[in-house]
Amino acid sequence: MHKKCVWREIAKKTSSTRFCVLVLIGTHFEVLFNNSIWGRSSSQRSSIFTKGHLVLQKNISRRDFTKLATALAGSLGLGAAAAPRTATALEKLAAGKPNVLWLQALSCSGCTVSALNSYQPDAIDLITEYMSLLFHSTISSATGSLASSVISETIDQGDFLLVVEGSIPLGMPEACMSGGRPISELIAKAAGRAKAVVAVGTCSSFGGIPAAENNPTGAVSVRDFLDSESIGKPLINLPGCPCHPDWLVGTLVHVTEFGMPSLDDDLRPTMFYSKVVHDQCPRFADYERGNFAESFSDSGCLFKLGCVGARTFSDCIHRRWNGGVNSCIDSGAPCIGCAGKDFAKKADFPLYRIGQEDALVTELAQR
């Protein structure tokens, strides 16, 4: 009946329910509620669809659909802010390789460098096989006005994933300029046309260091920026300072091959961010036995040096870094919570708290 049936999908997890909206290109829109479908393989999912488990199937216009999605989001307690993200469906990328527009705002390029550290697939595979990287400031041959025209043609064409690295200087747009315009304008325009937005790293996910206390630029996360501009798009946050290459690659592959991954309330893919570091820590036994390091030369659990692994959601400690050779805690360095929402935000919560019997240890003991 349809020339090409391409599933568009959105998944939004609430505390107890996973909410999925599926859109079929053409005039059919199908909406589905299901508690467990996204944990299954794509073939299992297909069979569920063909068995008629769809809750709703109607011929409706896109505008009607947006209204419907808003109502559904409201009824699920997601709030009005969640509605636009839910309604803007994500198309499965037919070529199997997403077009990617990568823009940098208040960034250090660390997430770019980390992406280049990707191991299996390696960086050359990423660029040639896993994405069409239409523009990236650090890698693109295009420069100057040619670069600006590549960016604007990409935006005009649509059909791309927008990757944003760095936070947005909402209070001082002049603090980040590209092509003579504030980067915030460019990001707003690109986000408006993008299929989905991926915030790579802690700065773009949660504001990060540029948004820390005493910052002069009024830096905010991509989520807060899009909300301030009333731009509703599917958004995935991939915090980490830097973002682990696996998180970025795994997310891109998931979006390309299976649609939106399951996200938590902070829009992080649950496949990478559902557990705290502490629960996966190689020094967990030291913690259990009360064997705490008192100085950087000691072995043992690093809590008393300031480790915040107990409140940091990330699988980095298990995944390890740079092709798996090491990790922060394995190298004797306490987790400083670089993937956390509050990373470095407060001047009175130091990254190291040596000798401190702080509330965290008590908090943990009570768990």
């Binding site: 960034s107 660390g110 040639t128 400031s137 670069a147 043609e153 603090a175 190298s331 990254l351």
Partner: protein, 504 residues
């Protein structure tokens, strides 16, 4: 006829840089460099625990976090009165050296080489090298897709005079691909000793947190040998081929002619005089470096802070709409003079000092092969050559340092943070001289200022109106086609600008 050209954004560097040049009779007559991104790291550090600095300041830059981490640790060590043990110093050198290798390789192949080698040559390739064959297949498949920018990110590019020699292009392309693996391997080497890269968790005042084991030594040594072989067999020959194909670039982008280095790598006990020690080359004469001669001007910078101040008491209050200001970068000067920093400054200073015969012989060998003398080094090609030669020298030193590591010996020295103190951490990032200045009051940071390599190299005019190092290097650059100012981009990229660093 006078033509104004703006290159904005100037890509294939770190961060947000724009360049404006006036071209008259085919040559640049004036140039302005603008740093376009400001975050306010120095303000963010105010009132924080001093140990936050080595983690937060690493995040200034994802390309050279290690240099910031080490500069911050050194500033704290001066304030705390503590020094790393031998193992700690050696490990720091190895972490810093690893990051140098990844940065230099990244800069030549992925940021610069596509300005020289002709990527289109892949379509004519008839050989059987698997890397080139794969690339050729990718190009053909992509063109058939008919999609927007099928060969992105490699195309589109400026039109211009790319290399026409098949070997130069084929080896350049092949090694572009292999270099992606090599720079990741160099980062992996660093991570063996500091936990992860970018942003090294294991750097602390007093040394490093990681311990030395024979297994880690073996792993590191094995990776280092591979990277060192790549430098010898690919990086240096590729630079040599580009230099042979574009000999006129030994005359282009000559710059201010003054050079500054703070020196780098802590010297293990009992070893000879360091190759990379501090020095100033002013008007061709080698001078002793005095850090009190550093000042920062702000007349043309978007800061309301006073001008001409030493960074130990400097400030960085933003003023985005300041009259006359055209950059977020300040204008650091040494004894009031414009300075170039970076691999060229380090190699020239060491060459002039002449205390390391290996370095002198190596430089002479390559100058002879390219039929130029040392006066050709301050140039676009001289910067690329110095960077590649430095990569070889650093890799050689790393092979020596790794043998000096002692398992089960300490890697850090305990310390206490004083209520009051000051410290300066002066070292080198891959792209040049890096300084951090710290003040502690009531056990917290009361002031923190950084002067970073690209602050020197891409500075705007100073209060006297003297253009910065890159601005001076651009002047006189021939521009054949104002729509495709490839030559100007080559000059700027030869400095390896890092804008996140320059402004921070």
């Amino acid at each position: 006829m006078n033509r104004k050209i703006t290159i904005d954004p100037l890509t294939r560097i770190e961060g947000h840089l724009s360049i404006r040049v006036d071209v008259e009779e085919g040559k640049v007559i004036t140039a302005e460099c603008s740093g376009e991104m400001f975050r306010g790291f120095e303000a963010i550090l105010q009132g924080r625990d001093p140990m936050d600095a080595q983690q937060i300041m690493q995040r200034i830059c994802g390309v050279c976090p290690v240099a910031h981490g080490i500069a911050s640790c050194m500033a704290q060590e001066e304030a705390y009165g503590v020094a790393p043990p031998q193992n700690g110093q050696l490990l720091r050198n190895l972490i810093q050296g690893s990051n140098f290798l990844q940065s230099h390789i990244l800069h030549f192949y992925h940021l610069s080489a596509v300005d020289w080698i002709d990527l289109a040559a892949i379509q004519k390739y008839e050989g059987s090298d698997p890397t080139l064959r794969n690339l050729q297949t990718w190009v053909q498949t992509q063109i058939e897709t008919q999609q927007l920018f099928p060969l992105a990110p490699l195309f589109p590019r400026y039109e211009g005079n790319y290399a026409d020699d098949a070997l130069t292009n084929e080896m350049g392309l092949k090694n572009y691909v292999i270099a992606l693996e090599m720079r990741a391997l160099a980062h992996q080497m660093g991570a063996i000793w500091c936990g992860k890269l970018p942003h090294a968790p294991g750097l602390i005042p007093g040394g490093v947190t990681e311990s030395v084991t024979a297994r880690k030594v073996a792993r590191f040594r094995s990776a280092l040998k591979r990277v060192a072989t790549f430098i010898d067999d690919a990086y240096l020959p590729d630079v040599q081929r580009v230099a042979t194909a574009f000999p006129d670039y030994f005359e282009v982008g000559r710059g201010c002619g003054n050079f500054l280095t703070y020196g780098m790598f802590g010297q293990p006990t009992g070893s000879e005089e360091p190759t990379f020690s501090p020095g100033v080359l002013m008007d061709g004469k080698l001078q002793t470096f005095h850090q009190d001669q550093i000042t920062e001007d702000t007349c043309y910078s978007r800061f309301s802070s006073p001008s001409g101040i030493h960074p130990s008491s400097g400030a960085s209050a933003p003023d985005p709409h300041k009259d006359k200001a055209y950059s977020w970068i300040k204008a650091p000067r040494y004894a009031g003079q414009v300075m170039e920093v970076g691999p060229l400054a380090r190699v020239l200073t060491a060459y002039k000092r002449g205390t390391d015969p290996n370095l002198v012989n190596l430089v002479d060998k390559y100058l002879e092969a390219l039929a130029v003398d040392a006066t050709a080094l301050p140039s676009v090609l001289g910067r690329h050559l110095s960077r590649a030669l430095e990569a070889k020298i650093v890799a050689t030193k790393m092979l020596e340092w790794v043998e000096m590591l002692a398992p089960e010996e300490p890697t850090n020295t305990p310390f206490t943070i004083p209520q009051t103190g000051t410290g300066a951490g002066l070292t080198e990032a891959a792209r040049g001289a890096l300084g951090h200045w710290l003040q502690i009051r009531n056990g917290k940071i009361s002031n923190y200022q950084c002067v970073v390599p690209t602050t020197w190299n891409c500075s705007p005019r100073d209060d006297e109106g003297n253009p910065g190092a890159t601005e001076q290097a651009l002047m006189g650059t021939p521009v054949n086609n104002v729509e495709n100012p490839l030559e100007a981009a080559r000059v700027v990229r030869s400095f390896d600008p890092c804008l996140a660093c320059a402004v921070h």
